[in-house]
Amino acid sequence: MSATVDPLPAAPTDRPGPGEVPEPDPGDRHLRRRRRERLLAAALLAPSALVFAVFVFYPFARNIYLSLYSTPPFPNLPSRFVGLSQYSQVLGSHNFLNSLWVTALFVVYTVPAGLLAGLLLALLAHQKLKGIRVFRTVFASPVATSVAVASVIFFTLLNPQVGLFTYWLGQQNQLSVLDNPTWALVAVSVVTVWQNIGLSFILMSAGLQAVPDELLEACEIDGAKGWARLRHVVVPLLSPTIFFAVVVGTILSLQSFGQIDLLTQGGPLQRTNLLVYNIYDQVFNQNNEGRAAVMAIALFFITLVLALVQIRLLERRVTYGN
């Protein structure tokens, strides 16, 4: 983006004078303009391309490379090429399958609940009532909480000695729910759902707002009220938003890390050892990059499949018309 690629056309030569000098060869002019345009495009795309190359594509390639080498038990020993055998070893391991299962459970606990909560709040906030804007802001407010804020709030409120929720749950001076193999994942899920309510509410509200008022009024005249209206008109019209929320929610859920690191560190008994936390644990605690790389590739493919589903759904919606 410097003066050398300034694309301003040289005005005088661009203007063919009427009946004056013989016109300059138009092919030449075109060629020059096209070259200038390409240079400009390169300059505009270069910064992004550089970042992507260094921090997206290179590490991804290196990931694949690492996944084919087994990490030596002690540092400074050479790593050994093992090829795809590391995949079968890691993907079949109890540790990975447990992560996969726990992650799946986590998705099931968090995505539908967050979605329904958001939908319920959005429906309630989509009324013509005085002061409804206050409620809209209240319902959206968890969107301002980061994973860390949400997790530390609950972590502190679940403190085994002085936590308010600990007291309300009657768990004072007992094992915290976060250390309880049965309840830890549920507790983490509750925190996550609460943190996601704001986003879910905002998404659903935007979807509802896109439903024309005229349609809802037509419902009133046609006699569809309450449940019938919800089932036959509102939910079908919201279905693109709902699909979107499900896919995005699932992807975000799959990539959860912060709440695990802050609340349970994957425990107790690996019951909250979500995939990303497991990768982190492999790298920083087990010093096994090869294993971590294989799991990362697995996570990538799961995300990819979901993203492709998302794209297909969006394509279908285009034909749905408006």
Partner: protein
Amino acid sequence: MGTEPSVAALAPGFTTALFAVAGIVVVAVLLRVASRHGTPLRRRRATKVSRYLLLVVLGVIVLFPIYITVVNSLLAPDQIAQRPPLLFPTHPEWSTYATAWTSGHLGRYLMNSFIVTVAIVVGTLVTSIAAGYAFAFLEFPFKRTIFVVFLATMMVPLEVTFFTNLQTVVSLGWYNSYLALIVPFLATGFGAFLMRQAFLGLPGELRDAAKIDGLGHLRFMTRIAVPLARPAIAALGLFAFFSAFNQYLWPLIVTKNDQYRTVQIGLKILSRSQISTINVTFAGIVLAFIPLFVLLLVFQKQLIRGLTAGAVKG
């Protein structure tokens, strides 16, 4: 392993709260049902009251964790431990915030967060506008392919590449520095996509008119396209702000001391402190929460645009 808590073993306090909520919901539903009978005026009033009741109950539930955090941040540690719990600060202790700011290092953490976040937002906007403009208004070879490659970056989340990226950052000598926190996020496929869509949404005659007026691409971009795409730029900027400010995994692994830790990582340190300073932890949470909450209040509309950009526009 302790005894497994079952629903029956829940403490009286929790049960009471549960019953209170259930009770209010039942009242609301009863009002709803009752509203089908009686005089029209009373009917309408009953419907209205039941709606407000539901809204208030749900609002309280959603807001409660934040509310109680603010309350606890103003209590002394022994008041926090008091049973039955205090749900309102009678003698708010504002000094806790000063403690959190200085000895809790919140001041330092927040400053780091702001430096990193602002740099990322500005960088993202510049690279996204540039790339979006190229995809929308310029002709060059392999345009479609390059665009797909840009989109493909969205398929490779940081959660997949964080440890190989860490190696890169270490070998560049950036470990524990602002550069490590900022540079990897200076461009996003999402941003380029969003800006391309925004530019394509501008009327096609604009570029033609500018050509006739003799405006070159750079001047057209800075004087016409960018000002007109302001709503999208605002949405992208807020989205970038939220995601940069809220980052957790990456700052956790590339920082090693308070000099560069962001506020999210600071919260982790605070959460591991003694019970005697638990009020400081609460104050820290509030301080970490406030910036985004203020942004939410001020820019609610633009933020919603940013968050729903993918959903509504597709």
